[in-house]
């Protein structure tokens, strides 16, 4: 299936270079939006797989919402940026943007950049998923530890007994340990 690409750029010359390059290579469906007003309508109909965006457009905020709204199915985003603006690249990569097309690009550079963008996006997306999973595990462990402490103090029991109690409750109520722990912590805070 052809990859759908949406180019958002007010610089029509640059946009047409990108479009031509992608059309020449083949295998891409390319649409160009000059700015956000049209972008909203286009996003509905075009459902792009990749967005290519001009960083000097306010449209970035619209795309930001899109990124948040489609967290389950994030799209790689490629941004145009001025050559002098190297560190913006790091910021945007951190933020989920996969690659940059530096100004003054030539037709034959577009394809490799896009390939890099998609590859990097996939790698980044995998990393982010891992990080999110690790984060929530850590958060769960922390809350369980806190709840254990509360139970030990309130009931005068050992750490093992406290853990056991929570585990049994979780099994009986068919809920996660972290949920039981959270209830204990919340209740303890309310009773303070």
């Amino acid at each position: 299936m052809a990859l759908r690409i949406l180019v958002v750029d007010h610089n029509s010359e640059r946009a047409s270079v990108v479009r031509q390059a992608l059309v020449d290579v083949g295998g891409y469906m390319v649409e160009v939006a000059p700015r956000a007003g049209d972008l909203l309508a286009l996003l509905r109909t075009a459902q792009p797989d990749v967005l290519i965006v001009d960083l000097d457009l306010p449209d970035r905020d619209t795309i930001e919402q899109l990124r948040v709204a489609t967290r389950e199915r994030p799209r790689p985003i490629v941004m145009f940026v001025d050559q002098s603006d190297n560190s913006m690249m790091h910021a945007a990569i951190e933020a989920g943007v996969s690659a940059y097309v530096v100004d003054g690009l030539s037709v034959n550079r577009v394809r490799p950049v896009l390939d890099v963008a998609i590859a990097r996006f996939k790698a980044f997306d995998a990393l982010r998923r891992e990080r999110d999973a690790a984060r929530s595990q850590l958060a769960e462990r922390k809350i369980v530890d806190r709840a254990k402490g509360i139970l030990m103090r309130a009931k005068g029991i050992t750490e093992e007994e406290a853990y056991d109690r929570m585990r049994r409750t979780a099994m009986n109520e068919q809920r996660k340990m972290s949920e039981i722990a959270q209830s204990i912590v919340t209740a303890a805070e309310m009773l303070k």
């Binding site: 700015r35 956000a36 007003g37 909203l40 309508a41 960083l55 000097d56 457009l57 306010p58 449209d59 970035r60 905020d61 619209t62 930001e64 919402q65 948040v68 560190s87 913006m88 790091h90 910021a91 945007a92 951190e94 933020a95 805070e189």
Partner: protein, 387 residues
């Protein structure tokens, strides 16, 4: 002495509440504090956030909830933020297309200035459209983490409208909203000054509500820095806060409004004609294409301690909106983190050298609004309001 000025780089978005920062840079307040304040006009909030996080900006005019979201790392990288100064309160307006305005006024039994009435009317319009099988109404706002988003949601939810199901909320940059309204891509929006006025002047929309109708003292933008920058550059930050607070006091003085409108209208600042800016400063806005105006002195509030000193209650209210609309999960740590972005201690460190002639207004009263020598009546009114 020019060689001795400390450089500070700050980003801003062309909006009326960047006034204190712009005037600090353009009218000598920063230089008086020994700073060379370089302002960079940005186009999107995401750019402002990234550049502030990265250190390309030392400080920025930024949406208060966005600074809080950045500090909590709720969406992006977590970077601790410090907001030593609020850049005023209020300034937003809810605008609807001429068509939706007609539908709302037809469906509103009572006072159109009452958001409970207009919300009820909107819910009726939505129900009627659903019956006809029409597409949901589309409302624009400027960023997911913005008071504009929360004001619209607050208004709708109070009337039983589910903003995630009954309407479509989209992010649209302010310079585009009037055009999108004209093209029918939007049915309404909530936006900061002066962009509501622009839509009304183009004859495509009505101002249905001033932001103050919905939230009387709505936190808006703050001056934010990275916490580690604030810690490492404490004297510079104090001078920056002082310069902006003195600039804000200057902006608030009625006698300076003509000059202020001129300064802000410059192409590299807001790039909007001075008359439009003047109307906003006066709190007297054209609300309908037929030229009808409405005045409210609270439309945009920049004067007084209470509007400038960061109030952690504001940070917590914004945090509560984020939790309410499922942008972040509630936790005790997040509560602390959100409140901790607002730093009245840094404001006080910069400004409450009591009995000191270098205090923001030359008086340095321990409480109450800043004294505005050029507007004694305005000062007395502010005293009455804050009493």
């Amino acid at each position: 002495m020019n060689g001795d000025l400390t450089p500070v780089r700050a980003g801003f978005i062309p909006l009326i509440d960047a006034a204190a920062l712009i005037v600090a840079a353009d009218r000598g307040f920063a230089a008086e504090e020994g700073l060379r304040l370089e302002l960079v006009r940005e186009v999107s909030w995401a750019n402002v956030r990234d550049r502030l996080m990265l250190g390309q900006f030392d400080a920025a005019h930024i949406l208060a909830p966005l600074a809080i979201a950045a500090a909590l790392g709720s969406d992006y990288t977590k970077v601790e933020m410090a907001a030593p100064l609020a850049l005023g309160l209020n300034g937003n307006a809810v605008v609807v297309s001429t068509g939706l305005y007609r539908a709302i006024s037809d469906a509103a039994p009572g006072d159109l200035n009452d958001p409970a009435e207009t919300g009820l009317a909107l819910s009726r319009v939505i129900a009627a459209r659903r019956k006809q099988g029409a597409e949901p109404l589309v409302f624009g706002m400027v960023f997911p983490f913005s008071s504009h988003n929360y004001q619209l949601r607050y208004w709708m939810a109070a009337a039983g409208i589910d903003p995630d199901r009954d309407v479509q909320l989209v992010v649209l940059p302010p310079p585009y909203v009037a055009d999108a309204l004209a093209k029918g891509q939007l049915n309404g929006f909530c936006v900061g000054a002066p962009w509501a006025s622009v839509a009304v002047a183009q004859g495509v929309g009505h101002i249905l509500h001033f932001g103050v109708d919905l939230i009387a003292r709505c936190p808006e933008k703050v001056l934010a820095t990275r916490s580690n920058w604030a810690a490492a550059n404490a004297p510079t930050l104090q001078r920056l806060v002082r310069a902006c607070a003195r600039a804000a006091a200057w902006c608030a003085a009625q006698e300076n409004r003509t000059e202020l409108a001129q300064i802000l209208s410059a192409p590299e600042r807001l790039g909007i004609e001075p008359q439009t800016i003047r109307q906003i400063l006066d709190g007297r806005l054209m609300i309908a294409p037929n030229g009808e105006t409405r005045a409210d002195a609270r439309f945009f509030v920049l004067d007084g301690w209470a509007a400038l000193r960061p109030d952690p209650r504001h940070a917590l209210w914004l945090y509560a909106q984020m939790v309410r609309w499922r942008q972040i999960e509630h936790s005790p740590a997040a509560v602390m983190g959100a409140a901790g972005v607002y730093r009245p201690d840094l404001f006080d460190a910069a400004l409450t050298t009591r009995n000191d002639a270098s205090a923001a207004d030359g008086i340095g009263a321990f409480a109450g609004p800043l004294f505005t020598a050029g507007d004694v009546a305005g000062y007395l009114a502010a005293v009455a309001r804050s009493a």
